[in-house]
C-alpha cells in the first residue's frame, strides 16, 4: 500500500486557480452576501455613521483638518501648549521617527575605499515569468530539484552527521557537535599537511595546501582515504575450519571503519591533549600518511586479496551472511 504511493508529491504549479488561496476567479462570481435576519435587521445606523452620511449630503468633500504647522506659525499660544515633540522642531516634519520598528538611517557620503562594504539593497523580487503565472504570488517558486540540504532532518553534510554520531556518548549530541566544531577549528588553524609519497589518498583530492581552509574537505579526505573497501568475515568452512571471506562495504560502513581506526590511534597519543586536539592530530597524520590506520587498512586488504577465492559471487541471495554455512564460491 505504502509503496503504491509516490514518494514525493509533485511540486509543479497547480493550474486550478480556484484552489489557490486569497484568489477569486473572475469566471465564478462570488455568492451574494446573505442578509442578517433577526431583530437588528432594520435599525438606524450609529451616530458616527449617521454623521458621515449627513456630511456627505451637506458637502460632497469631507472637512479637512487645518495643517498644524500653519497654526503653530501663526499662534504663539498654541506653540506654548504644544506637546514636546512639536516644540523641539518647529517645522512640520520631525527629523526622527516614532515608529515602533526602527528603520535604517540613510547613510550619506560613503568613502570611496569602502566600495566593498556598501549597503545591500532589499532583495529585489525578480519578475520571473513563471511566478507571474500564479496570481497573487509575491516570490517565485523554488528552483527544482531542491538542494540536498533543504530537508529539515538531513540539512547537514552526511559525513559530519556520521562523525557526530560516532563521537557521541550517552546521547549527548550537543557535546558531540561542539567537539566536532572544535576538531574543524583545529584543522583550520594547523599548518597545511605535507604531502608524502606513497600515501594512497583518494584520487581527486585537492591540493593539500588548500585543505585547511576547507576543514570538512580535510576531514573527508582523511576518512575516505583510509576507509577499507572490504571487511573480512570468518565463515564456517568444511571440516570445522573457518574461511576468511571478503565482503564489500557500503560508503557509510567504510567510513565507520575509518573512524574507529582513527579514534583508536588518537586515543593512544601520549600527550594529554583534549579529545578534539588528539583527533585533529590524527586526521593530519592520516593525510600525511603517518597514521597507524593505514597499516590496519593494508592488513585488511592483504587478507582480502589472499582470500579472494572465497568471495561470495552471487550476492542476490537473501540469506544473511552469518547464516551461510559455507561460502558458495567453494562449492
Amino acid at each position: 500500500m505504502l509503496r503504491a504511493l509516490p514518494r514525493c508529491t509533485s511540486l509543479s504549479p497547480r493550474s486550478d486557480p480556484a484552489l489557490l488561496r486569497n484568489f477569486t476567479s473572475k469566471d465564478t462570481p462570488p455568492p451574494p452576501p446573505s442578509k442578517p435576519i433577526g431583530l437588528n435587521q432594520d435599525v438606524l445606523p450609529r451616530v458616527s455613521e449617521e454623521a458621515a452620511i449627513t456630511v456627505n449630503i451637506v458637502s460632497p468633500y469631507p472637512v479637512q483638518g487645518i495643517p498644524i504647522g500653519g497654526v503653530l506659525r501663526t499662534d504663539p499660544a498654541v506653540l506654548q501648549n504644544a506637546p514636546k515633540v512639536l516644540k523641539a522642531i518647529p517645522g512640520t516634519r520631525r527629523k526622527y521617527s516614532t515608529a515602533a520598528t526602527p528603520t535604517e538611517p540613510p547613510t550619506a557620503g560613503t568613502p570611496a575605499d569602502m566600495a566593498s562594504s556598501t549597503a545591500p539593497a532589499s532583495p529585489p523580487v525578480s519578475p520571473d515569468a513563471f511566478a507571474l503565472t500564479i496570481p497573487g504570488a509575491k516570490y517565485p517558486l523554488p528552483r527544482l530539484p531542491l538542494p540536498s540540504c533543504s530537508h529539515l532532518k538531513h540539512r547537514y553534510s552526511t559525513l559530519l552527521e556520521q562523525v557526530i554520531n560516532f563521537i557521541m556518548i550517552g546521547g549527548r549530541k550537543a557535546k558531540a557537535e561542539s567537539l566536532v566544531d572544535q576538531i574543524l577549528a583545529n584543522l583550520r588553524t594547523r599548518p597545511a599537511p605535507k604531502p608524502r609519497e606513497g600515501t594512497p589518498l583518494l584520487p581527486g583530492t585537492p591540493a593539500l595546501s588548500t585543505l585547511p581552509l576547507d576543514p570538512v574537505q580535510y576531514l573527508q579526505t582523511a576518512i575516505d582515504s583510509v576507509s577499507p573497501l572490504v571487511k573480512i568475515l570468518m565463515l564456517k568452512g568444511g571440516g570445522g575450519t573457518k574461511q576468511p571471506v571478503p565482503y564489500p562495504l557500503r560508503l557509510r560502513q567504510r567510513r565507520r571503519f575509518a573512524l574507529t581506526w582513527i579514534s583508536a590511534a588518537a586515543d593512544k597519543k601520549k600527550a594529554r591533549l583534549g579529545f578534539a586536539e588528539r583527533f585533529a592530530d590524527e586526521v593530519v597524520a592520516v593525510v600525511e600518511g603517518k597514521s597507524s590506520a593505514w597499516e590496519k587498512r593494508s592488513q585488511v586488504h592483504k587478507l582480502a586479496v589472499a582470500s579472494r577465492a572465497n568471495v561470495i559471487i552471487n550476492p542476490g541471495r537473501t540469506v544473511a551472511p552469518s547464516k551461510i554455512k559455507f561460502p558458495i564460491a567453494v562449492l
Binding site: Y156, T189, R190, R272
Partner: protein, 462 residues
C-alpha cells in the same frame, strides 16, 4: 717513590680559605669491625627434591606478583595548563592575507570610516600589537587564530569611543580645575563587541603615547585566588600580587611614555625605599615590579603623578565590570565576605569612574560582561531607573558608576555586517559568495550580533 710535592707541602705555609671548612682527612679509622654487616648465611642446598616439606609449601603458596609502584609523572607542569588556556594566537598562515588600511590615530572620531575593516598596526618596528598583548587586550575567544593578521571592524560605537579620546585631546569640557576626564561604560548584549571596543581605544591611546592602565579581567581580582591584606589607614584590602602584575603590564606596554615622565616630588615606597624628585616613572615601576611590598605605593605614585598638570594623558580601562558588583570571594577576620568595593584595586578604578578622583587628562572606560551572575543593582544603575524601596539592592553599586556616560553597544548595522562578511570571504574562511540572499540569511539568523554572525558564517552547522 715519594713525590716531591710532599716536601713542598711541609715547607710552604698552609693556606686556609677563610670561608671554606678545612677537610679533615684521617689515615685510619676508629670504627670497630663489629659494626660491619655480617656475612650472608649460606643458602639452602640446590637440590630441593629431597625436601618434601618445602615442596608442599611452595605449591600451596599463591604467588601474587606485586606491581612496582610507579611514581606517575604529573600530567602537566605547574602553570602549564593555564598557559595553554590563555595562549593567544594572532595569526594563521593558512588564511589569505587581506589588504586593509591601518587603524591609525587620525581615524579617531571619523564617522566616514564606520562600517569598514581596519588592520591593527603591525608594520616593521611597530610594536603596538606586542604592547596590546602585554596589556592582555586580546582574549582567547575572539577568533583571532582564524585570520592572517588581527583586524577589527570600525563601528558606530567606535566613533563614539573615539569622540571621548578626541575631546580629551582637544581639551574640551575641562572642569574648573583644568582637568578633562571622560568616563564611560560600554554596555550591551552578549557578544556585541565591548571588549573589542576597549581594544580599539587602547590601540589609539598607545599610538598617541598615552599611559594605558588596563585591568583585563576584573574577575581575577575578586575570586580569591591571590593573597590580600588589610591596610588600616585606608580601610581597604590590598592585593599586592595582583598590583604587581598590573604594574608589570603597564610597564611593558608604556615603557617609552613612562621614561618621559619625571617625578614632581620625592616619594617613599614601602618603609625603606625612596624615589627622588626628577627620577623617571619607569624607574619607580621597575623597582616596584621586583618587590610586591612596594607595588601598591608605586601604583599610587603613578596615579598621583598622572593627576598633575603636565603629565601625559591616561587611559584607564576595566573589563567585566559586573564582576566587581557582586560580593567577592575574599573573607575578613570575622569570615564575612568582603565587599568588592573594599578591595583596593577595584576601589581605585571606581573612584576614577565615578569622578571622585581624576587624571589631568584622561579617559576611563569600563565594559560590562554577560558572563556573570545577575547583578540587579548594576542593571538598575545602568538603566538609570528608580529603585523600588522594597527592592533589596546593594546601595553602594549605584553611586559607584554615577555620572559615567553609558554607551549602548548595539548589534551590527547592515553596512557593518556586510563589511565583516566581505572580510570573512576575502580571508578564504567563508566559502559562500556574499550575495544578497546569503547576506540576508546570515544577517537574519545572527540578528546582527557579531559573535553569532561569525558562527553563522563559519560553522558548518548552526
Amino acid at each position: 717513590m715519594v713525590p716531591p710535592i710532599l716536601w713542598r707541602c711541609l715547607r710552604m705555609p698552609h693556606i686556609i680559605h677563610p670561608l671554606k671548612p678545612r677537610l679533615c682527612l684521617h689515615n685510619f679509622t676508629t670504627t670497630p669491625p663489629f659494626s660491619a654487616k655480617p656475612l650472608k648465611p649460606k643458602g639452602p642446598p640446590t637440590s630441593s627434591k629431597m625436601n618434601p616439606g618445602k615442596q608442599r609449601m611452595q605449591s600451596n603458596k599463591v604467588h601474587v606478583k606485586k606491581k612496582p609502584i610507579l611514581v606517575q609523572k604529573p600530567a602537566y607542569e605547574v602553570g602549564q595548563r593555564k598557559e595553554l588556556r590563555k595562549r593567544i594566537v594572532l595569526s594563521n598562515t593558512n588564511a589569505i592575507p587581506v589588504v586593509l588600511p591601518t587603524m591609525t590615530a587620525d581615524l579617531i572620531g571619523n564617522e566616514d570610516a564606520a562600517g569598514a575593516m581596519f588592520a591593527l598596526p603591525s608594520g616593521e618596528g611597530d610594536t603596538i600589537v606586542d604592547r596590546l598583548r602585554a596589556l592582555e587586550a586580546f582574549q582567547t575567544k575572539q577568533h583571532w587564530p582564524f585570520f592572517y593578521r588581527p583586524c577589527t571592524l570600525f563601528r558606530r560605537e567606535t566613533v563614539e569611543v573615539g569622540r571621548l579620546l578626541e575631546r580629551v585631546v582637544k581639551w574640551e569640557a575641562a572642569g574648573e580645575d583644568g582637568r578633562v576626564n571622560e568616563r564611560a561604560i560600554l554596555h550591551g548584549y552578549y557578544g556585541c563587541g565591548r571588549s573589542i571596543l576597549l581594544l580599539q581605544a587602547m590601540t589609539w591611546a598607545l599610538q598617541k603615547e598615552w599611559i594605558v592602565i588596563a585591568i583585563p579581567n576584573a574577575q581575577d581580582l575578586v575570586i580569591g585566588h591571590t593573597e590580600y591584606e588589610f591596610e588600616g589607614s585606608s580601610h581597604l584590602w590590598l592585593q599586592k600580587a595582583s598590583t604587581t602584575d598590573l604594574l608589570n603590564r603597564v610597564l611593558k606596554a608604556n615603557r617609552k611614555a613612562l621614561k618621559g615622565m619625571k617625578l614632581s616630588q620625592s616619594y617613599r615606597l614601602g618603609r625603606i625605599d625612596e624615589v627622588r624628585k626628577g627620577d623617571s616613572m619607569e624607574r619607580v615601576l621597575e623597582t616596584a615590579v621586583l618587590d610586591p611590598l612596594l607595588a601598591w605605593d608605586a601604583f599610587n605614585v603613578l596615579l598621583g603623578e598622572l593627576g598633575l598638570p603636565g603629565s601625559p594623558p591616561a587611559l584607564f580601562t576595566l573589563d567585566n565590570l559586573n564582576q566587581i558588583s557582586i560580593p567577592s570571594k575574599y573573607r575578613d577576620q570575622a569570615f564575612n565576605a568582603i565587599h568588592s568595593h573594599d578591595l583596593a584595586l577595584p576601589n581605585a578604578f571606581l573612584a576614577y569612574l565615578s569622578g571622585k578622583r581624576g587624571f589631568h587628562k584622561g579617559v576611563i572606560l569600563a565594559a560590562t560582561s554577560s558572563k556573570c551572575s545577575r547583578t540587579l543593582a548594576l542593571d538598575a544603575a545602568l538603566e538609570c531607573r528608580e529603585v523600588d524601596p522594597y527592592e533589596r539592592l546593594d546601595p553602594r553599586i549605584g553611586p559607584s558608576i554615577e555620572g559615567a556616560q553609558i554607551i549602548r553597544v548595539d548589534s551590527l548595522s547592515k553596512e557593518e555586517a556586510k563589511g565583516l562578511m566581505d572580510y570573512y570571504n576575502q580571508s578564504g574562511i567563508m566559502k559562500d559568495p556574499v550575495d544578497i540572499a546569503t547576506f540576508n540569511e546570515k544577517y537574519a539568523v545572527s540578528a546582527g550580533n557579531p559573535r553569532d554572525l561569525f558562527g553563522t558564517c563559519l560553522r558548518m552547522r548552526q
